[in-house]
Amino acid sequence: MSAHATSTYIPKSRLAKWFESRLPLVGLVHSSFVAFPVPRNLNYFWTFGAILIAFLGIQIVTGVWLAMHYDPNASNAFESVEHIMRDVNYGWLLRYAHANGASMFFVAVYMHMFRALYYGSYKAPREVLYLLGVIIYLLMMATAFLGYTLPWGQMSFWGATVITNILAAIPIVGDTIQSLLWGGYSVGNPTINRFFSLHFLLPWMIAGVVVLHVWALHVTGQNNPAGIPIKSSKDAVPFTPYATIKDVFATVVFMILFAWLIFYQPNYLNHADNYVAANPAVTPAHIVPEWYFLPFYAILRAVPDKLGGVVLMFGAVLILAFAPWLDTSRVRSANYRPIYRQFFWVFVLTCIGLGYLGAMPPEGGYVLASRLLTAYYFAHFIIVMPLVGLFETPNRLPASILETVTGPGKQVSAGGSGLPSGAAAEPAKRA
């Protein structure tokens, strides 16, 4: 699967030898997830790839089970969700796990993305790996939106209305696209039918791109907090047990938050209005998307022009794809970029600020603040990334990954356990 992967797998039994000579699947898994060398300095931000794969699995399994009970029909969808909650054995658990799983999925993907932006994981030679990640993020957004419409509550219905009207702003083909999505003259029964179908389809497309993402990761090898490549075997540890165990541990910790949401605050991230059946005559007084879309919603509303707002909102996602070429610095990790590091945190605060403003009503000072932060959001990519890279003097990079773990000059035997700072690592960057 990759140049880095050195397959040391030797089949022992006769059956294993027979199988391996016909399909070297076990050897592929062994070279990718057992013998694969990972940088020994990875920190816990590199565990979100594994967490994301876990959540893709959780969403698919709970989703398939919910589909056994859900009725994608405009006149019965809302009641079938209540049927799941009240009549189906453990239906409440399946639904709360699925609904909160989507939120946890986005928590993990945002950690994963900010990790990539901070440590320069998008830079050569990992551009394709990174672009596949952007595609996965876009697919996730589409899937989450489609799923949110299915309970056919007020927020579902009006979310579907608002988003499909966004697409109608596209010049020339917008109305046709809208009509094809609706299957009618407004959001209605044909709409929920096809949204259910697409909501079932997209996760499998995500899974497919995840395979490519992991493949690309295993070709280039992982980035790491130092942003320098593995130069000798002393810089790396084998994926198993080091990364495997660390990934499992981080996933379990993350699951505690997930379990707390499911069992103690199952509706904390939901909206009360979505427990009111869809009513095409009344829009809820405060219509807001799910929290993970709020920054983009704030950008949409910051522009007093329909097409302009739509262009900027999509642009805010798509500009991520240009990061590898907008960033002019040759140093990857912001740990060694004193100026850029500060701009990075300003950017994080900008995203959080936009999220806050997206939840506020579109009036007065909120609009002005949204405009300022929207401008800064784009300035970060278009101005800060190219210019800081040109003018900044980076700090001295360590000679090797080993040096960042042991300090200059010290020696530690490669692969030794019990190293001071996070010697273990994991596959991160997946998903």
């Binding site: 009006w158 209305t161 608002v162 988003i163 499909t164 009207n165 966004i166 009509s179 094809l180 999505l181 609706w182 299957g183 009618g184 003259y185 407004s186 959001v187 209605g188 044909p190 096809r194 095409p280 005559a281 009344v282 829009t283 809820p284 007084a285 405060h286 219509i287 949409l300 509303r301 522009v303 007093p304 022009d305 329909k306 097409l307 707002g309 009503p361 579109p362 009036e363 609009v367």
Partner: protein, 188 residues
């Protein structure tokens, strides 16, 4: 593209194999489009949905001055509003340059029926339903993104780009309209 003596000898117009290559490619493209067509077309509004859009009669007698009534035609919300004398006077007095999508009063109502506004009820920004008798223009205010419309549905504050559209409708009598048909020039 060939290694046989026959093709090597071919002139600058290309070989038979080039022709076959292009013809096969063109055939594939046409075939792919032909296969894709029914998949895309199946997503368009179906016959039942279109048939359900038959014209709708609305009796105006129960509607009082200033009242806004919601009706649905083709699954779309439609406002039927009886304007007060003050609203009619005010709306006629608005100078066109003040509007985002300038439209004179007369273009918003049927001739001889100044009291009746019939318009689609979804905001032209992103489709939310504006709330009646709110905002600064005697009309509607949209709770989603803050657009405001005046009493005859003209957008007066963005982000909505255009006025609330007027559906096809006609007065059958002075107290009855038919939404979905423009034809009858009744009771002018």
């Amino acid at each position: 593209m060939a290694n046989t003596s026959a093709t090597a000898a071919a002139g600058p117009e290309g070989t038979k194999r080039d022709f076959l290559f292009l013809a096969t490619g063109a055939g594939l493209a046409v075939g792919a489009a032909a296969v894709a067509w029914p998949f895309v077309a199946s997503m368009a509004p179906d016959a039942a949905t279109i048939a359900a859009g038959a014209p709708l009669e609305v009796d105006l007698t129960p509607i009082t001055d200033g009242q806004i009534v919601n009706v649905f035609w083709r699954g779309k919300l439609i406002f039927v509003r009886k304007l007060t004398e003050k609203e009619i006077t005010d709306m006629k007095a608005v100078p066109l340059p003040e509007m985002i999508d300038p439209a004179p009063f007369d273009s918003r109502v049927k001739a001889g029926h100044d009291q009746w506004l019939v318009s689609y009820g979804n905001c032209t920004h992103l489709g939310c339903v504006p709330i009646g008798h709110q905002g600064n223009y005697e009309g509607w205010s949209c709770p989603c993104h803050g657009s405001q419309f005046d009493a005859v549905g003209r957008v007066r504050r963005g982000p909505a780009p255009i006025n609330l559209p007027i559906p096809p409708y006609a007065f059958e009598t002075d107290t009855k309209i038919k939404i979905g048909e423009e034809s009858g020039k009744a009771a002018a």
